[in-house]
């Protein structure tokens, strides 16, 4: 099996929290006056979201090998194609691959709320988006710790769908992480993840003497940059 790290699974992520400001930003909040009624309603929804969701994550760290087809994660079936991921993992010696989800309990509740009340559905949806980001942050922290223990440094998360990294990777990532069985995350025919509040990503691991590409995340490579409203507001989609 070589040096491949085992699959790490966390079935509960008690520290995951909705970031209220971030959740509001997702639905276009830019300083508007919110009255108490709406504000209290959002607080209730956030609490409900954190209570209903069953967040979990899984990750694996694997050595990287550059092949003619792309970046190969040694010990798995994954080969990452495209110039953007190649740039992201340039110089990396290993790669972390992760999946995070809020679980089907959240998904059922979202479906129910969307049927019951669209505004509650919207608020619950945006709270969930923020919560799954929080789960991803916590998962990333675990990977950073593993990397540090091995004397390695990490860069940021990069997900299928960013730049030219294809969504067709989704089912393969899930299989590598045994996610359908372990976390109940699957990809549908269009390579979209279900539960919808799930995310996958790759993180580069670099030798500490290697200069981690210090290029800050920016909109430069984003295909949406010419008309993105978030960018216009000065609140881009990355943090």
């Amino acid at each position: 099996m070589g040096p491949t790290e085992q699959l790490h699974i966390e079935r509960t992520v008690p520290d995951a929290r909705v970031d209220r400001a971030e959740a509001l930003r997702y639905i276009g909040y830019a300083g508007q006056q919110i009255d108490d009624v709406l504000s209290a309603r959002f607080d209730r929804v956030i609490e409900h979201c954190e209570q209903v969701a069953s967040p979990s994550y899984a990750y694996r760290i694997m050595p990287l090998e550059r092949t003619d087809e792309g970046m190969h994660l040694v010990g798995s079936t994954l080969t990452l194609t495209g110039s953007d991921i190649a740039r992201h993992l340039d110089g990396a010696s290993a790669c972390g691959v992760l999946v995070c989800t809020l679980g089907l309990s959240y998904e059922r509740e979202l479906q129910q709320l969307n049927r019951r009340n669209e505004l509650d559905g919207l608020l619950f949806g945006t709270a969930g988006s923020s919560l799954v980001e929080s789960v991803a942050d916590i998962c990333e922290t675990a990977i950073v710790a593993k990397a540090a223990a091995a004397g390695l440094r990490t860069n940021t998360r990069f997900s299928p769908g960013y730049g030219d990294l294809p969504l067709t990777l989704q089912p393969l990532i899930l299989d590598v992480l045994d996610a359908p069985r372990r976390l109940g995350v699957i990809a549908n025919d269009s390579n979209l993840l279900i539960p919808t509040k799930s995310t996958t990503a790759f993180i580069g691991l670099f030798d500490s003497d290697h200069l981690v590409s210090s290029v800050k995340q920016s909109c430069a490579q984003c295909p949406c940059k010419s008309h993105c409203t978030l960018r216009k507001q000065g609140t881009p989609c990355y943090r």
Partner: protein, 936 residues
């Protein structure tokens, strides 16, 4: 697919099974142990299988290696070799190998190990079923059926369907096995730390459903280590009537000295399993992380024990969804919500005709909130396809509502379709004593593991005496038993007759109930409300009859859970029969209960206080309305939480007035003295007769105030300004919509309609307010939730307008239709949902096709409903292409149909590029496009 109705499959029960030998027969009887093998995946990974690779293909490419693993387990003592076919379905294999080839090779690898039995492994499809996912039940069934046939043809001895987390997917697999083979079926599910599967199924629910389906053994696998699994297994052991399997994992992997080890070592694993075996589990094996070392120790555990430990099984009537279990012990009762039945319900009929399933789902959720334990689902409407509709309702309801369902239809084919697609153990409503009916429905119930309601009627009609009804009930129970349906799965309905037409039979109904309970030992259901048909004050009669029926032994009343009288009687009986232990629920719900007289007094006092505080004639008139309304509401049994601070409504519906009359019988005599002028002035457009309103006003403490001030209101009313400047009520409604107060907006709309008319409310209040909101949203002073809150408030207003127009018989406010969809590949539907809400509020009929919508579905909708305007949404650059494809097809097939597009990644230019007719940058813009196009 309706195999029983169509006669393509015979009802298959647990004992209709081909068993390889006597030892296996003893295992299935629960008198002998069986040792399975351990993990396959773990062994393969140890041998260098890459993560993400399909291990099943190794059966073809590396058969010797696979056989070696099987052999290692057999040598360790396993009697069973489980084929390496966990993911060998055509969805996962794709074009890499044929299902039949994989199973043929896998079975021969397993056979070559020398194992006594070859178990064909069937794992989940790897996709999620509709509606959360995209895989249809029928497609899942087909995937499993292909595996089943392949395994049977290859010579397997039994099926092990394992690691399931979705009870419905499990059911598809079990039915595929039942209907395409006669080999024994072992079925295991996998649970998390919370004791539930990913989709919320508990062990008890899994057992109730799978036991009823007639699997030969059931249990748990994977999930957790043996100690964590123990309580889940105990739960199963206490209810399962067949042998229970346990295949725990060996904990979580970690690397020690470069070697993968699992957190639970073989010795502790075996000790834990030994305890589970002593609790009654008789089939054991390993899952992830276990290897032959573990299995060898398990063999020792069984070696030391001669036969499975005896266990006591609680026989009780059980009904389930995929999440909830309704279990009746002793005198426990359960309420079946009756609302999802179109008979006599205009709105539901329309919703079913329009396929507006959200309406039905909300009915389901409302009843769940009101305390129902189960829901009756009926789609009997002559103009729709009952069978197809019933299936759709079952699918939709079970996806969001956790209550078990009672499938209500007299058409056996419709029943079969519905129970086939239902995840849990359903109750079929109903069979009756007619021979042909029993012969058609009982095989369905037996095959799908359902319980049945038996009506005490037969070819001779409904007998009038208890003895004759009892005889039919007995016949139904016996006949059900003959088909393999146990006594606890039969519920007798003694049939409520209207007291107004069959008064003498009421006592007979209660007598039948008692006889059925005492002499047949089965449970009973009863539709309660029929008793009062044709009578006034129906709920008074209903609740008395319900209490009497409970006393006679009724277990499951079918009633409207939203009716307060029913809810009170149910709560009180649960207390009296001991089900509400310690009266906890009762005390919680009724601690602030006030008798009706007290409530009326308080309402009057509050009305009087408000009247005194407000000097103006208009205010006094409102108070009269408030008092009238409150009295009417109380009389209808709706709790009034303190009198409204401002007048809730100037419109007293005819129902309310009638109820008010019922509440105040003296009103009739008061009518003559009611000041007609006052009533007329205060309630200019009310449907209530002047006499009703005046009568109630007269009946309140503040009556004299109201009548004098009411007269003054007449002159005040004539001062209401012309529509160019707004009156206070209209201004208030606008403000309420703008600030998104849906609760108050409905009431405010009633006041505006009372002062003006419904169209005035739309044109002068709701639409202008929405325009203001739209402008603010555009200007960025409002953001999305505020826009939606306003839309909600406006909707509350439009709903009032709609019901007012409907009651006046005016033409409907429906324009359009417009179809909306988020394009294929995209799941972002926030924008689309807002457009839908806004368009509906502007009076357009909207067909919402949802998200990730295939172009063909859009075309079908255009064709079916003659749609001239389609809105498409996409939020990802990757899916804009699908938008273009969809638009291309629409324009090709329906040149008259226009398309507008929206979404974050779009702009005017992109919209042109994808061929859209209009670009709408927000919901307001889409409303403008629609209004322009339809000339509304």
């Amino acid at each position: 697919m309706l195999p029983i109705t169509d006669g393509t499959v015979h009802t298959r029960l647990r004992n209709d099974v081909r068993i390889k030998d006597d030892r296996l027969r003893a295992v299935l009887d629960g008198t002998s142990f069986l040792l399975f093998d351990g993990a396959m995946g773990t062994m393969l990974q140890q041998r260098g299988l890459d993560a993400g690779e399909l291990p099943e293909l190794l059966c073809i490419t590396n058969p010797d290696e696979i056989t070696a693993i099987h052999r290692a387990y057999v040598e360790a003592g396993s009697l069973v070799a489980t084929t390496n076919t966990f993911g060998a379905n055509e969805l996962k294999l794709g074009n890499r190998a044929a299902v039949e080839d994989v199973f043929a090779h896998a079975v021969s690898c397993a056979r070559a190990s020398g194992a006594a039995y070859v178990a064909a492994d069937i794992g989940p499809t790897g996709a999620l079923l509709e509606p959360l996912g995209t895989l249809s039940f029928d497609r899942a069934y087909d995937l499993f059926a292909r595996e089943v046939k392949a395994a049977d043809a290859a010579g397997a001895d039994l099926f092990i369907i394992e690691t399931m987390t979705d009870l419905l997917e499990m059911k598809a697999a079990v039915l595929a096995a039942k209907e395409n083979s006669d080999l024994p079926i072992f079925a295991t599910m996998t649970f998390g730390e919370d004791g539930r599967t990913f989709l919320g199924t508990s062990p008890a629910v899994a057992v109730a459903a799978l036991d009823a389906l007639g699997v030969n053994a059931l249990g748990v696998n994977c999930s957790l280590g043996p100690d964590a699994l123990a309580p889940l297994v105990t739960e199963m052991l206490s209810v399962a009537t067949c042998p229970v399997i346990v295949q725990a994992n060996a904990g979580l992997p970690s690397i020690v000295d470069g070697r993968t080890v699992y957190s639970i070592d073989p010795q502790s694993y075996a000790q834990s399993i030994a305890r589970i075996v002593d609790a009654g589990a008789s089939i054991i094996g390993g899952c992830c992380g276990t290897d032959p070392t573990y299995i060898r120790l398990l063999a020792d555990v069984l070696e030391k024990r001669e036969t499975p430990a005896p266990r006591s099984i609680e026989q009780a009537p059980r009904l389930t969804s995929a999440q909830n279990l309704v279990e009746l012990h002793g005198r426990d009762i359960a309420v079946i919500g009756e609302r999802i039945n179109p008979t006599g319900k205009k709105k539901l009929k329309q919703a079913l005709r329009d396929k507006d399933y959200d309406y039905v789902i909300n009915m389901a959720l409302d009843q769940a909130e009101a305390g129902s334990d189960l829901l009756d689902v009926n789609a009997g409407l002559p103009e729709i396809d009952e069978g197809a509709t019933l299936i759709e309702l079952v699918k939709q309801i079970q996806s969001v509502c956790g209550l078990p369902l009672q499938i209500d239809s007299s058409d056996p084919a419709a029943v079969e379709g519905a129970v086939r697609h239902y995840a849990g153990k359903a109750l079929i409503n109903s069979v009756n004593g007619k021979a042909d009916n029993l012969a058609a429905v009982l095989p369905i119930a037996a095959h799908y593991g359902c319980a049945v309601v038996g009506l005490t009627l037969d070819e001779g009609g409904i007998p009038s005496t208890a003895e004759k009804r009892f005889a039919i009930a007995e016949r139904i129970v016996n006949e059900a038993n003959r088909y393999g349906i146990p006594r606890e799965d039969v519920y007798i309905d003694c049939l409520t007759m209207a007291a107004s037409t069959n008064q003498s039979e009421v006592i007979e109904i209660l007598r039948t109930l008692r006889m059925v309970k005492e002499h047949l030992g089965v449970r009973t259901v009863l539709g309660v409300s029929n008793i009062s048909f044709g009578l006034p004050a129906r709920e008074v009669v209903n609740s008395a009859f319900l209490a009497a029926a409970f006393a006679a032994g009724l277990d499951m009343p079918i009633l409207n859970p939203m009716n307060e009288r029913f809810a009170e009687t149910v709560a009180a009986w649960k207390l009296l029969c001991g089900q509400d232990e310690g009266a906890t629920a009762f005390v919680e719900n009724f601690s602030s209960y006030k008798p009706m007289t007290k409530r009326i007094e308080e309402t009057r006092a509050e009305a009087a206080r408000t009247a005194a505080a407000q000097a103006s004639a208009q205010a006094a008139a409102d108070v009269a309305a408030a008092a009238t309304n409150a009295a009417a509401l109380i009389a209808q049994g709706i709790p009034v939480g303190g009198a409204p601070k401002s007048a809730p409504s100037a419109v007293s519906s005819s129902l309310g007035a009638a109820a008010a009359r019922a509440f105040a019988p003296s009103a009739a005599s008061a009518q003559a003295t009611a000041p007609a002028a006052a009533a007329g002035a205060v309630f200019p457009v009310t449907n209530a007769s002047r006499g009703d309103v005046g009568a109630v006003a007269e009946n309140t403490d503040s009556a004299s105030d109201v009548s004098t001030n009411g007269a003054a209101a007449d002159s005040a009313a004539s001062d209401i300004p012309a529509s160019s400047t707004l009156d206070a009520a209209s201004t208030e409604l606008r403000e309420l919509v703008i600030s998104g107060r849906k609760g108050a907006a409905g009431e405010a709309t009633k006041r505006v309609i009372a002062a003006h008319d419904p169209l005035y409310a739309i044109n002068e209040c709701l639409i202008p307010a929405l325009d203001v909101v739209g402008d603010r949203f555009e200007a960025g002073t409002f953001f999305l939730p505020q826009l939606m809150a306003s839309a909600e408030a406006a909707k509350a207003g439009f709903d009032v307008v709609k019901s007012q127009l409907a009651s006046e018989g005016t033409t409907k406010a429906d324009k359009g239709p417009v179809a909306l969809a988020t394009v294929k590949g995209d799941i972002h539907d926030i924008g689309k949902n807002i457009v839908k809400m806004l368009l509906e509020n502007y009076g357009f009929k909207v067909y919402d096709l949802g998200r990730d919508v295939d172009p063909s579905a859009v075309l079908d909708c255009i064709r079916d409903h003659d749609v001239k305007l389609v809105g498409l949404s996409a939020l990802m650059t990757t899916t804009v292409h699908n938008m273009k494809v969809t638009i291309g097809l629409i324009h090709k097939e329906f040149p008259d149909t226009k398309v507008f597009v929206g979404g974050a990644v779009l702009n005017e230019e992109y919209a042109k590029m994808v061929g859209a007719d209009y670009y709408t940058k927000d919901a307001a813009a889409s409303a403008r496009v629609a209004t322009e196009l339809f000339g509304a």
